[in-house]
Symmetry: C2
Subunit: 367 residues, 2 copies
């Protein structure tokens, strides 16, 4: 199933490294920034044990900021324990969306530089998706994109589904997308906002975080990607490359239904948007513009993702350090379950190697 | 892949009929009921052409009520044109959710009887999923369930995702589920409410009905099924059988992620709900309690559905008369696209016949 280019890479590599492309790290500078804040999002110590927690929403007590979240040595230890050769780090949510316009540019630069320095401590083991100062004026955003070309370990940018605050189908994002294509920086797309809690009904909270994490996140990603495709963005920026978290949310499964709904929509028809030869279908975009991570925890999901985008477009990931093992042990199911799914899915060694690292090495130039 | 029982049915049938288990019809009595209403939902004539439309939401102009929606002759003509032998009719949304408590029982009875009469006009061609008077007192609901056992063409009930108004994980539904099991009436689960329009962002409306229909509906179904599974309902009512619309929304694709989120959830762990031996996993429920219709418009989605639930649990459907062809022709893509997907997916004739009708004949006793 692999293309000639992908096969060439797979064959030319004596041992294909295992690459984790979905793995988060908050540089200590970012934790300090959140500690200094008095409004959500912030980091602060909570009683009774004074554990520091990152609070993203007024409704919850936040997430314990254990060293896995900010300590590069702990990340490397996690990688070593699980035989991960290379990690492509990204800032976790809430990224930089909350920064005031006038300081966002400077803060983004410091965060990207400090992440780059962490990567430089472990040459060849760490790369990263940079954060963009999206709340800053456009010139600042473009400036940071241009600067990232000279930041040695930056290999793309991490983007939330709200983009500049108005969704990924916001036309003002188009020049930014073009600048990213020109800079050869793919987008690592990640959910953050989920769905309104009301959609889980009066009993949704009884299931802990299952509804927002298991359903809200992938649905948010699916909506964002569908809006982006429907907006016609991929006609205007045909080379835009997106690495979609959690195997694209649910886009691979719903692609047929979305296309059918498009084909039956009177408004789109009246605008001449259905049979327009320049239209990129969901299938086109899944095959030419979207990479899917392998964070789907089962063979069936991984097969579906592979069927829509091709084995050249699936990249292994763990989502570390989210989903820590409940037993506090050193075996992380987020690694072992996704690894097992890949082993069961890709019976050909060549395909397995592409997904476990070959695709990331080729696409993100991890040499 | 088929079980022995399924194979026996497939072999014993000289020609397996083609059965459409997802096909809606509003009996004229129901249209008249909606015409008499002054509050949404209602049916009324709209200028400039006085076409009658069913309005479900204040935000839109509703759906044209062409004869496909209420005329049984038109349904039969659609079936004949597309070589459908049997249709299992269901009322379309908004069902009977809006009825006042004191009249719901009587209205449900009249609607079910009038649908049964339509089925009786075409013996062997039509069966139906009955509507329940969910807004009526429990005794009325139980009474109608008991009565349905004597209604010749009733083969189950249609249920919206909100159940009695508080979700499918509402504990007060449990006795109703038990009564349905006792009456051998499976539930045909159908979405209606979608997601709040805000989740599609400021540009979502530019894509006509694509976002609410292509994404809102399957996400609503997925949330409802996930809540039902998490509630532990299938431990208490282990024989509950649900036929899930639109191939389960996105449940087959997200099953692995939902299970992983359950395995990592501290609240569920603290309640002893994760490793509890009585817990039914998403996989258990998909294999033992859920049938998936084939309304997914592509081979990849159908393969995913089949991989999670087995070929014995997939049932062909069209969603007629929703999604009329834009060209006004007699070829309905909702039939032809789903048929083509089934042909591509099931290379073994035995499997194809099960999905196209054998499963429905066996499970719904369509003799």
């Amino acid at each position: 199933m692999a293309t000639a280019a992908a096969r060439a890479v797979a064959k030319s590599t004596l041992k294909t490294p295992v690459v984790d492309i979905h793995t988060h790290l908050y540089p200590p500078f970012y934790i300090d920034l959140l500690k200094a804040r008095t409004e959500i999002p912030y980091v602060r110590a909570f009683p009774p044990d004074n554990q520091i927690r990152l609070v993203n929403r007024a409704a919850d007590n936040g997430r314990p900021m254990v060293p896995h979240f900010f300590d590069v040595k702990t990340k490397i230890a996690f990688m070593d324990h699980h035989n991960i050769d290379i990690s492509v780090l990204s800032l976790g949510n809430p990224w930089l969306d909350f920064l005031p316009s006038d300081t966002a540019g400077q803060v983004a630069q410091e965060i990207n530089d400090s992440t780059n320095s962490m990567c430089a401590e472990y040459p060849g083991r760490l790369y990263f998706f940079a954060a963009l100062p999206l709340s800053a004026p456009p010139s600042v955003v473009f400036g940071e994109i241009a600067r990232l070309k000279t930041v040695p370990y930056a290999r793309g940018i991490v983007l939330g589904t709200s983009g500049l605050g108005h969704g990924l189908d916001d036309p003002t994002l188009i020049p930014i997308f073009k600048a990213l294509v020109d800079a050869s920086l793919p987008i690592f797309l990640h959910p953050h906002y989920g769905l309104p809690a009301s959609v889980y009904g009066p009993h949704g909270k009884e299931y802990g975080q299952v509804m927002p994490l298991a359903l809200g996140f992938p649905m948010e990603t699916t909506i964002a990607l569908a809006c982006l495709i429907l907006s016609g963005c991929f006609t205007v920026v045909p080379d835009l490359q997106i690495i979609a978290s959690h195997s694209g949310g649910t886009l691979p499964f719903l692609a047929g239904r979305i296309e059918s709904c498009i084909q039956h929509d009177r408004l789109l028809d009246s605008k001449g948007k259905i049979n327009n030869p320049t239209r990129k279908t969901v299938w086109d975009v899944l095959k030419n513009n979207i990479y899917l991570d392998g964070v789907i925890y089962d063979k069936i999901g991984l097969q579906t993702a592979t069927a829509t985008s091709g084995v050249d477009r699936i990249m292994f990931g763990t989502d570390h350090p989210f989903f820590p093992p409940l037993d506090g042990g050193v075996e992380w199911p987020s690694m072992t379950v996704n690894l097992k799914a890949a082993k069961k899915t890709y019976e050909r060694e060549e395909d397995y190697n592409l997904v476990m690292g070959g695709n990331a090495v080729r696409v993100l130039n991890l040499r």
